[in-house]
């Protein structure tokens, strides 16, 4: 990107203007995500920087909204903070219960999506797969179809089969979230299988390995980064999904996004911002993991970044 020495003045001016424009666009991308972090430590119940905060006065900051996440919904929030207080918080605090539900739903839907998606991706990436294009289009479609249509369809479908009466908690939401996560697993796993040299599996078979051993020893190490990224994508999809939960989730199936949704619609309080901050930190951790996996996968397949 460096300017050549012979660049004219006009070109120099344009070059620096261009860099400034890019910087502003990057700011537009990232600022909204970072701005919630300091605001979540605001001691006042406002959504803007107070004068004390701007002067970096420690009295302008507090952990009160994080504390509220623990105490909100507790039977006795003002008791001494000993083990029974924590037990109370663990059992009764609304946000903790929502987090538990989100993790349970996310875990099971991720397991289903990853297992089915990986197996299917193995079939889809074989050159002899029949109707490949049409089947791929169907399997990716949950990512494209508007979420409100999915939720509406599931609402009718689940009420016609009375899924609430089957006695399996979270079943409806877990199946729906698995469906929504599957396209991500398919995309990431097939991406790691692109250019997979099928003579490797034939060589393994030639050397006497049965198909299971071949899969375990030859294919699995190559696709594992893709499988893990796909699983993370599926988990994030479930962890962030609110519309389906609103439409088909039972009253006791409160998840973090649902709780946030209600909070934003009714009375938005800075407690939402502290939840948002925690979620941003989680997404930074996930992004780092996925990036590391991607590089590992590229290294394994010999596409190293120059």
């Amino acid at each position: 990107m460096a300017l050549p020495n012979h660049a004219s003045t006009l070109e120099r001016v344009w070059h620096y203007t261009y860099l400034v424009i890019c910087a502003l666009i990057f700011l537009f991308l990232i600022a909204p995500i970072l701005v919630v972090i300091p605001l979540s430590f605001n001691i006042e119940p406002y959504f803007t920087f107070t004068e004390k905060m701007l002067k970096l006065d420690p009295t302008g900051y507090s952990m009160r909204w994080y504390d509220l996440l623990l105490t909100f919904g507790m039977t006795d929030p003002d008791a001494a903070r000993d083990s029974s207080w924590w037990a109370d918080a663990w059992a009764n605090a609304n946000w903790i219960n929502a987090a538990k539900n989100s993790v349970i739903i996310g875990f099971f839907s991720t397991v289903i999506a990853t297992f089915l998606g990986t197996v299917a991706a193995l079939g889809l990436s074989r050159p002899e797969m029949p109707y490949r294009r049409a089947i791929m289009a169907i399997l990716i479609s949950p990512m494209i179809v508007p979420i409100i249509i999915v939720a509406t369809g599931l609402f009718f479908f689940y009420s016609s089969i009375n899924i609430q009466d089957w006695g399996i908690p979270y079943l409806g939401v877990v199946l729906a979230h698995a469906t929504l996560g599957i396209p991500f697993v398919i995309i990431t796993v097939t991406a790691t299988l692109v250019g997979f040299d099928h003579s490797l599996t034939r060589a393994a078979a030639n050397l006497g390995a049965d198909p299971v051993t071949t899969f375990r020893r030859v294919q699995m190490p190559l696709i594992l980064p893709g499988v893990i990224s796909g699983a993370l994508f599926a988990f994030v999809t479930s962890f962030d999904e609110v519309v389906v939960v609103l439409f088909v989730g039972g009253l006791d199936e409160q998840t973090i996004p649902r709780q946030m949704w209600n909070g934003i619609r009714e009375q938005i309080s800075p407690a939402i911002l502290s939840v948002a901050t925690i979620l941003v930190i989680i997404s930074i951790a996930l992004l780092t993991t996925v990036e590391l996996l991607r590089r590992r996968s590229e290294r394994l397949r010999g596409i190293s970044p120059s």
Partner: protein, 408 residues
């Protein structure tokens, strides 16, 4: 050889089969059922007891009269007698509300006529026509009889007509609804307009940074790429909340503008709960979907083409316009189509920051599902939206190929 090939094909297919079955059951079947509901509503033909699940046909006498007489026949004494007999059944089944609601979808204000008539059902005596007119003289309304005739068959396309701001006139021909009741076409137009605008904005913002990322050495571009990918990984609700914090009238943007003296304290900008809020927040949220396809097309472009153009005397603008830009068009197509598809069906962000005039078609579907409870109309609107999306999706697959969809 042939048998080995068909064996391999079968093995590949069996790997995909479990997932295909799963998607068909949890995804395709529910949507199919919803589509069925958009042209099938048995509110005026069948009653199902919630407790026992017993299904009883209702309005059978009236249906027999409709079958015997062609459309447009003046309701005779015989017709009112049939109606009266059906009202007795409705009363016994406690179903007048259900039947009235079905008629009320197409002709508002009629639900109470049914509940009222059913309450008096046993006292209704011949001549039935006069008895009904005593209750409410709207019982002679030709529109009501036309709607009842349509509803006496469970299959109807009237919900699609309603979703397109059309209605049937009393002689059965299709016409536009009253101008002040035209909601849906306006909303479809607005959804398309805002989606095009958002797609254009993501292009304008995405092109420069994708170009920068593609031309920087990988060490730097991988770092900058994090700024694109982090929003992509961050919860949608978090990003929407952030925009609410930034844009509200006591929010960070307004406070900064007032603090800098660019804006008087009394005329703070209203940037949220209107179309502007929807556009700003959705542009931000969908920007990565534009940048990533652009980047993956721009990265492999060989810089020596532009250099060759320059050395042949082209100005940098001409070199960009004639040499570089045409090579990026596939990326623009992929990004624009993807952003547009996602924007058209957006729900969460408009619902939270859109206010009244920033709502999209998805929000109206949700409204009919949750508030007005006109599920068939919601399903018809959803079917129209789905049809549009599937055409675009097909186009995307034709032009770009779903295999080329990349995530980061």
């Amino acid at each position: 050889m042939a048998s080995a090939q068909s064996h391999a094909r079968r093995r590949a297919f069996f790997l995909v089969l479990p997932l295909l079955a799963f998607i068909l059951i949890t995804f395709v079947a529910p949507i199919g059922q919803m589509l069925h509901r958009s042209f099938h509503n048995d509110g005026f033909t069948m009653h199902e007891d919630i407790g026992t699940g017993v299904r009883t046909p209702i309005m059978t006498n009236l249906k027999a009269w409709f079958d015997a007489n062609p459309a447009g026949t003046e309701p005779t004494e015989e017709a009112f007698a049939a109606l009266a007999a059906d009202m007795v059944v409705l009363r016994e089944l406690k179903a007048p509300g259900q039947a009235g609601t079905r008629i009320n979808y197409e002709l508002s204000g009629t639900r109470s006529m049914f509940t009222k008539a059913a309450r008096q059902a046993k006292k209704l005596e011949a001549p039935y026509k006069d008895a009904f007119l005593d209750l409410d003289k709207d019982w002679l309304n030709p529109d009501l009889w036309r709607v009842m005739r349509d509803a006496s068959s469970a299959y109807t396309f009237n919900f699609y007509l309603a979703a397109l701001d059309l209605t049937r006139s009393s002689d059965g021909s299709i016409e536009k609804v009253n101008e002040n009741r035209q909601v849906y076409v306006t909303l479809f137009t607005r959804t398309l307009f805002l989606s095009v605008l958002i797609t254009f904005l993501t292009f304008v913002l995405g092109y420069p940074i994708a170009h920068l990322l593609a031309t920087l050495p990988l060490r730097y571009s991988n770092l900058l790429m994090i700024l694109v990918l982090l929003p992509f990984w961050t919860s949608l609700l978090v990003r929407t909340t952030s925009w609410m914090v930034l844009l509200q009238s006591q929010g960070v943007v307004n406070d900064s503008l007032v603090g800098l003296g660019l804006l008087g304290d009394e005329n703070r900008l209203q940037m949220m709960y209107n179309q502007m809020g929807t556009v700003i927040a959705m542009t931000h949220i969908l920007l990565p979907f534009m940048v990533l396809p652009l980047y993956s097309v721009m990265r492999p472009i060989n810089p020596s083409y532009v250099r060759a153009a320059r050395s042949l005397g082209a100005t940098s603008w001409t070199a960009f316009r004639r040499i570089y830009f045409p090579q990026t068009i596939p990326g623009i197509g992929a990004g624009a189509l993807l952003v547009f598809i996602l924007a058209v069906g957006y729900y969460i962000t408009p619902a939270l920051v859109g206010g009244a005039d920033g709502q999209l078609i998805s929000n109206l579907i949700a409204f009919h599902m949750q508030k007005s409870l006109n599920w068939s109309l919601a399903a018809a609107l959803a079917a129209l939206l789905l049809g549009g999306i599937l055409i675009l999706y097909w186009l995307y697959d034709r032009l770009i190929g779903i295999d080329n969809l990349k995530l980061g």
